[in-house]
Amino acid sequence: MSLLEAQGIVAGYGAAEQILKGAGLRVEPGEIVTIIGPNGAGKSTLLKVVAGLVPMAEGRLVLDGRDVSSADAIGRARAGLAFMPQERNVFGAMTVAENLDVSGFLEPKAAKARAEAIYARYPVLAAKRRALARTLSGGQRQILGLAMALMTEPKILLLDEPSAGLSPKAADELFAAIVDLNRSGLAVLMVEQHALEALAISTRGYLLVAGRNAAEGRGPDLAEDPEIRRLFLGGA
């Protein structure tokens, strides 16, 4: 049984033309799955639909054997799904400690112990626990966003372009952190602008074009596919 299965997703924003026109994907336990595709393909929209931030007009979403198609974002968070948006993924006017605390809203009794475990995993956050989130560097902010997503101990982590705007060094550190989390058993579904790097660490990947699935395969295979490299990754 797949951990996450999205079938025939049709969705968009308001009255405009639907952006997703029947896209689907699945994530098995322990996998890293990356969605790639050209601008406007609907990659981020698909993640937002799965997270419950954008409603779907058609389709079905099953999380860990449970149909969560009609659940809202809060219901999906309760069901074990965590989403780190591309932008504004921390509460800028709150301290690092407050960000972690408020991210444990669903299980307040466990929040303190989980925050301590996160400080042990990411010492940079421990050192900055009293700093306002908006004063952190880009890389530190992404680590905080990642840590906030972990406060619910999710079954699957959704990441929307986590390395966007980061320096190459900070992006490498972030990818290392994602791999580290995955090795501890957490499934990851992400959209990433650095598609080659993301596919290299992915179990599988999906190519999305104009709101539909165009290809699927093992991550490293997709990264090496000359057609994909030529069309979407800017490589030869």
């Binding site: 809060i74 968070a77 989403f83 509460f91 006017a93 709150m94 906030m148």
Partner: protein
Amino acid sequence: MMSAFAQAVLNGIMNGALLAVPAVGFTMIFAVLRYPNFAIAAYISTGALAGWVANTWLGVGALPALVVAFAAAGLVGVAVEEAALARLRPSGALTVAIASIAANLVVENMLRFGFGNDLRGYDLPLRPDFRIAGLRIGPQAVETFLLAAVVMAVLFLFLRFARLGRAMRAVADNPDLARLKGISPRRVAMVAVFLGAGLAGGGGVLLGLDTAIDPLTGYRVLLSVFAAAVLGGLGSIPGAVVGALSIGLAEEVAMLAIPATYRSAIGFAAILLILTFRPRGLLGERAV
């Protein structure tokens, strides 16, 4: 002249403390729901009259009257939000702001229907003013100032350390992200409206301790309250306190130079100046 100025400064601080409580209520609602709720004037009057009922009918002191006023105005605020304003939110902030003006008129007239237009005063013992270094200070004003300070301190602690308080700040900062963390913006909005309207009602009692009240008590201070919130930065709670103290001071000090009939011009001038030179207000970036 110097002592008149010092007296005006002292009065201004007292006046500012009075304005700060409803101004914080106003800005708290704005921070979470992102619209200016002008029905706050009616909530101030509701609180003032609810406190008056508790004080003169039930014989309770200022502090219990403050609690009664907080609860009454908070409930009226939630009822107005649920009955009228919440369903207009998808139409945008301007629509809700205009609707809040209409809601203000409705609640104000309901109060007028129930209590009439007579001026009323709280039943509290008259006490002589203190005189310190030539300055006159009323004991009631000092108590009112302290009550306002306690209310602000409790609110500050709630927003800093209470789980619900932090959730409110999270929704004010980023409602979508808050939802992803399992926080319901709708529920938090209701809490914010209850607290904001309740604070306005508490401010009504503080005004009632200082002066006579009627159903237009809130309307008379609305401009000053709005100016305080804008001056401090809409959505910023410390900003509302700073703004209220600034407006309170400016109103009292200006009376040394201009006739009292122009008092309301101070609020207009403050709004005009701040929007021209610093549109986000003095502390507009910090929600708490």
